[in-house]
Symmetry: C2
Subunit: 221 residues, 2 copies
């Protein structure tokens, strides 16, 4: 394992978070998506990754970026091709607003290697998301390619099996929680500690535990 590991962060500034359209208008969704991206980049940095944006259009951020407007699967696979087989590459979604350096260190394997998740040097490490998604990946096997359609976690297990690659599951609530829908905002308010949490608070969102279950409410707009 080199001192730092490259991490690709796919981002679509042109069509951010459409499943939040019942809760946020387009400009708000864009700002919130940017805040989450900032949190993910900071957490990656804290975990010893070197992030690179894989973006559908230039972002103007002070981070290396590859612009590729193809669908996610094609763009990530092109990046895996370009990266070459010599060193690992992580792929971390831009909406993991609860990600911390500690959680991402487990993806990297620096914790796993000392016993945390075991198998610290598996060919592929996968942090599954709720609903069968693949929220974060670390790829060490030169032949592994992604397929983000449908239940991508199961697909990625199958891909790994087909090329005889070992797989480590990273069992993290923080990495499993991608922020797509209104109910997910509750998680950001409960467990986030960065720009996305601050953005929601500034926009008037708070927790409502009135009826015993916790949900999100907006005091003002």
């Amino acid at each position: 394992m080199p001192d730092t590991v490259d991490a690709l962060v796919p981002f679509s500034p042109d069509r951010p978070k459409t499943r939040l359209s019942d809760t946020l208008d387009p400009e708000e969704r864009r700002a919130f998506a940017e805040a989450m991206l900032s949190d993910v980049l900071a957490a990656l940095d804290g975990a010893g990754f070197t992030p690179r944006l894989l973006t559908t259009e230039p972002t103007g951020r002070d981070v290396p970026e590859t612009v590729d407007d193809r669908p996610l699967t094609e763009a990530v696979n092109a990046a895996l091709d370009a990266h070459g087989p010599g060193s690992p590459l992580a792929v971390v979604m831009a909406d993991l607003a609860l990600a911390t350096p500690r959680a991402l260190a487990r993806l990297r394997g620096s914790v796993g290697a000392s016993g945390g998740d075991g198998d610290g040097d598996a060919d592929v490490a996968i942090a599954p998301g709720r609903g069968g998604g693949t929220n974060a990946l670390l790829v060490r096997h030169p032949e592994f390619r992604v397929d983000y359609h449908g239940a991508s976690y199961l697909d990625h297990l199958r891909v790994a099996r087909d090329i005889d690659a070992s797989v480590r599951e990273v069992d993290s609530r923080r990495l499993a929680t991608d922020i797509d829908e209104r109910a997910d905002l509750t998680e950001v308010l409960l467990a986030g500690d960065g720009a996305a949490r601050d953005w929601l608070r500034d926009a008037g969102f708070g927790l409502d535990a009135g009826d015993g279950r916790v949900s999100v409410e907006r005091a003002r707009k």
Copy 2:
């Protein structure tokens, strides 16, 4: 840390899983809840815990049990009183159908102690659930008491602060996933490997990834 740690598993055979009533009839909900309980007990066993049921009525299972029909908070606090301050006590919910020995070992701290989560000997370890719940706890502090109403994770952080107890967060998707609603069944089919997954399959449930997002469907009843 002793060789084995007592673990309390609250269970309500009389009113199982009412939020699944749109999907399962009362008898099915009871059978499914029993299957999840079996999985949790097996995983606790595999992680070196000694489970004890805290049940609202006798279960007839071959596991030590305390019968207490009071609400959850009162019953758990009575058990903490009775347990005495000399040794740790875990409280693990009966509907964590994705729990594995490895995930529960992280609660126990046997992994944390070697670097996994750090702070392996914190006064209180908490595995938060989705929506701010407290899905699993390990209590080492003699004054810590629970409050399961509302966003109990935040309440438990507050309780710990008030008694100056250190807290370790157990960041586990498997422990964060309590099975309450229809959408949660997807997680059991995706990542479960025990009696609850088998029960769902036998009852005709399967995954539907038709539209790109994964949900649960029932082929027959």
